[in-house]
């Protein structure tokens, strides 16, 4: 099967997933026994004002009709207007998504860069000191709540040492770079503004570490266990017997094969990074999608909830697609199968 027909098949599946998600989310957000109009207009508003709000946003129509209107608009690229921010949802998502994306990707990259070597080292040094260190550190990573870790990191690196900033995406006295991608690190480089770049990197570090610690731990543990399995395989023995150097055996013969289950984990982890961003963003005053999603849910702002859910589904599906495609790079048997 060639890549194109594979991608087409995946695309069809993706559309089905999106339709299913939109129905479920829409249904769920209308099951809540509370009225978004009251939330939006406040406790003190009169009944007439609340009715006028319902009328304006079509909340007084039957739910199937509301869904139909929503989907019709969606197909024309209109995600609706947020009941809370009163701005187009698409505009809100565009404002908030890059911040979350920058944070999640940085956290993921850090997790991969640290987790994979840590797992490999741990497996090759099984039951020796490096292994114990990796196992303990990753055990902690798997069990520490993210908000606690975030507060500790801020308290230590910002509060006590003053080395790193304690929140926000950039220093408040440095103008953010001209928006191209919405990612401050990339945009400041594009603009050649190294002051802004350095500030964004500094601001990114603590939240990315807090967010990425859990996934680093998971990746390291996964890599360790699959490495242990692979290292016992005959072909590793054969490679050793050929007289290959230890590094060559470990990294080229064993690690590459051990990566398949780890890559699956990485794909799943990316989803958990997006959801973990909710807490991280609150603690680090990070203006991202996680905070937007939370406030949308609290305010019963269903157009925004729908927008966030659909976007998250899109990202998640894409991440899985990347994982599946990367299997084919890793293992020629999958490519030919």
């Amino acid at each position: 099967m060639n890549l194109l027909s594979y991608l087409i098949r995946r695309l069809v599946g993706f559309v089905a997933v999106m339709i299913g998600i939109s129905i479920i989310t829409f249904g769920l957000s209308h099951l809540v026994p509370a009225d978004p109009a009251i939330v939006a207009m406040g406790d003190h508003a009169t009944d007439e004002q609340i009715n006028a709000f319902r009328e304006k946003y079509g909340l007084n129509k039957p739910i199937p009709e509301q869904y139909w209107i929503y989907v019709t608009n969606l197909l024309q690229g209109d995600l609706g207007t947020s009941l809370h921010t009163r701005r187009p949802v698409a505009e809100d998502l565009r404002n908030f998504f890059p911040a979350t994306f920058e944070l999640s990707v940085t956290a993921l990259v850090l997790s991969i860069l640290i987790g994979i070597p840590a797992g490999v080292i741990s497996a090759t040094a099984r039951n020796r000191l490096p292994d114990h260190v990796v196992r303990i550190v990753s055990l902690i990573g798997g069990s520490v709540p993210i908000f606690w870790l975030g507060l500790i990191l801020i308290g230590f690196f910002y509060g006590r040492l003053g080395w790193l900033p304690g929140g926000a995406r950039i220093d408040k006295f440095i103008p953010p770079p001209l928006e191209v991608t919405g990612l401050f690190t990339v945009d400041s480089l594009l603009a050649g503004d190294y002051t802004a770049f350095w500030s964004s990197v500094q601001h990114l570090l603590l939240p990315a570490l807090a967010l990425g610690y859990f996934s680093t731990a998971i990746i390291a543990r996964m890599m360790r266990s699959s490495m242990l399995e692979v290292l016992n395989q005959v072909y590793v023995l054969a490679a050793r017997a050929k007289g290959l150097r230890q590094g060559m055996v470990v990294w080229r013969h064993a690690a590459r094969n051990a990566l398949i289950p780890t890559v699956t984990t990485i794909g799943v982890t990316f989803g958990s990074l997006l959801s973990g961003a909710v807490l991280t963003e609150t603690i680090f005053s990070w203006p991202g999608l996680g905070r937007y999603a939370t406030s949308s849910a609290i305010n019963l702002d269903f157009p925004a909830v729908m927008g966030v859910t659909l976007l998250a589904a899109l990202v998640y599906t894409l991440a899985n697609l990347i994982v599946d495609v990367s299997y084919q790079w890793l293992d020629p048997r999958i490519r030919n199968g």
Binding site: V39, A45, F97, P98, G155, D171, I266, S285, P287
Partner: protein, 560 residues
């Protein structure tokens, strides 16, 4: 066999970068926020001149010295349009950006002072009141446009057209329409007020941001089919001490001094309100000197302040109360409601649960509002409560109480407060089950008379006792009394009469009588009034919190 020497890791990273670029914003790149921040070199540029190529500065860039830095949770901010803003953060900002005809100064909320209007007079025109305002001549907006009576008329017409959350203050409480506001000449505005409203209370409403005067020329230039509301969401067209430089959602609001301000130029040329949702980070920022004022610290956090920062106390006019639905048996019996009130350990709530950061208020007008009645006769009396139940001839009282989730303003968890009440009542033989729901769900049920007991708070809408007394006593007003199914026409009539009384002593006596009556007969147990607490750096001077929920930034200065 290997086809490529690319490492799987590099593939993953490059794929991640591909989505990274693909998932960026739409093709048209938008520019960074306008104003000094975007066009001028950063403060740090002097240290690294090669790094930036910003155009020459026209004003001093914002810096630590000339900026008031505030850390606050501004997630409630949804608009800066004064005609529709009704959120705490939004009011804090718009109060400093727009001017009203009349105002309160500092922390005072009883003496109406001139603002855009130099003077005003109220005449009795038999079937209505005529309020005539004389505008101060020569005043201008930040744009340089003169402030005229037409701007005032236009500003009011926007409120009616947009019908946002605070519009009921003009439409329902004051009972006026767009036609009630007219320009007699460029410097004279006349407002016709029906006799159902009190001129005094109306003047208090006029100090609210809803009565802000907007620059009609600038707003009309940016009309956009919705009276300029979309544009005013994050721009300003006022005459206040500051103008909105930019508001970045969930990040910050930057205000810069209005060069055409009609009063003295503020000492600090900019005010930066940074969004810091987590209060412990506000604390660290305050301690590190990154914030001059932190608005959302808890009582415990404030207690840790020493040296460079201190705790400043202000008034918070919200009343925390228990609503008892008289449509539900046995709450229809006044003795049962009295028993519930008597069994509560009010001192324990104030001193232990709230660490003393509240005052024991039991009547329906908060302190220090006109008409405040300091009587607080209730303190836990279990035997008395039991006797009242016996008097009512009921036993085995079992009720359900709705409470919101999360933390109540004032620093206590709703669930802790509810548990305390539950155990107090339990001692008197009243069984209460607690049902914790979202605030939205609670309001939904409560507004439909669907709660038995409900625990929540009420904040005043304007600085006049009528803002609490009518909702708490008038069934017809469809507010709190209605929600608790309490229909007492006599007290409602008394409130209506008190609202429009012009003689202060007579009015005060009327409110004393009403509040005393509601204290024992109403469907409420008022629990406490919290204090407003702030963390402030010792370098900050002139910070004064108005109980209506704002502060005048222009009176604040920083000493070295």
């Amino acid at each position: 066999m290997y086809e490529s020497k690319r490492s799987p890791l590099m593939i993953l990273i490059s794929l991640a970068l591909v989505i990274l670029t693909a998932c960026g914003p739409a093709a048209t790149p938008s520019v960074a926020p306008e104003g000094p921040q975007a066009t001028e070199p950063p403060a740090q540029a002097t240290e690294a001149p090669a790094a930036t190529e910003a155009p020459a500065a026209t004003e001093a860039p914002i810096s630590v010295e000339n900026t008031l830095s505030i850390s606050s949770n501004i997630s409630d901010l949804i608009t800066l349009d004064p005609a529709v803003v009704y959120e705490y953060s939004g009011i804090l900002v718009t109060h400093n950006v727009y001017q009203t005809l009349v105002t309160f100064e500092g922390a005072d909320m009883q003496t109406i002072k001139p603002s855009l209007a130099d003077s005003w007079e109220t005449t009795d025109a038999s079937d209505h009141w005529e309020l005539t305002f004389k505008l101060h001549p020569g005043n201008t907006f930040a744009s340089g446009n003169p402030i005229t009576a037409d701007d005032v008329v236009y500003s009011f017409s926007r409120v009616f057209a947009l019908n946002g959350p605070p519009a009921f203050l003009l439409t329902d409480v004051a009972g006026i329409t767009a036609d009630s506001v007219t320009a007699v000449d460029p410097e004279t505005v006349q407002i016709n007020l029906p006799k159902t409203a009190s001129p005094g209370a109306f003047l208090a409403i006029l100090t609210n941001t809803i009565a802000s005067v907007v620059d009609s020329k600038v707003v009309q230039e940016n009309e956009g089919g919705d009276n300029g509301s979309t544009w005013l969401l994050d721009h300003s067209a006022g005459s206040g001490a500051y103008v909105v430089d930019h508001w970045t959602q969930e990040v910050e609001v930057l205000l810069t001094a209005n060069p055409n301000f009609n009063g003295d130029q503020p000492a600090l040329t900019s005010v930066l309100i940074s969004h810091v949702p987590e209060s412990s980070n506000q604390l660290t920022a305050l301690q590190n000197g990154d914030a001059d004022i932190a608005l959302n610290l808890t009582a415990e956090q404030l207690a840790t302040l020493s040296g460079d920062a201190t705790s400043v106390k202000g008034e918070d006019l919200r009343l925390f109360y228990l609503g008892m639905n008289v449509g539900v048996e046995p709450l229809d019996k006044p003795e049962v409601r009295e028993a519930l009130r008597m069994a509560i350990d009010y001192d324990g709530i104030v001193n232990d649960l709230l660490s003393g950061n509240a005052q024991k208020v039991q009547t329906i007008i908060p302190s220090p509002m006109f008409g405040y009645n300091g009587d607080a006769p209730f303190q836990q009396d279990i035997e008395g409560a039991k006797a009242k139940l016996e008097e009512a001839g009921v036993s085995d009282v079992s009720l359900e109480m709705l409470i919101p989730d999360g933390a109540a303003p004032g620093g206590v968890q709703w669930s802790d407060l509810a548990a305390k009440l539950q155990s107090d009542w339990d001692q008197a033989g009243i069984t209460v089950t607690i049902k914790q729901v979202t605030f939205a769900e609670l309001l939904d049920a409560y507004r439909a008379q669907g709660a038995q007991l409900a625990l929540l708070y009420w904040g005043p809408d304007f600085a006049d006792p009528d803002t609490n007394v009518t909702p708490f006593t008038s069934y017809e007003a469809h507010s709190i009394a209605w929600r608790n199914a309490w229909d007492d026409p006599d007290v409602a009539a008394q409130s209506k009469a008190a609202a429009v009384m012009t003689d202060a002593a007579e009015r005060e006596a009327a409110y004393k009588e009403i509040t005393d009556y509601v204290l024992h007969n109403g469907p409420y147990a008022v629990l406490y009034q919290p204090a407003a607490l702030f963390g402030v750096r010792s370098t900050v001077q002139g910070f004064e919190w108005n109980p209506m929920g704002f502060t005048d930034f222009w009176t604040i200065l920083k000493i070295a």
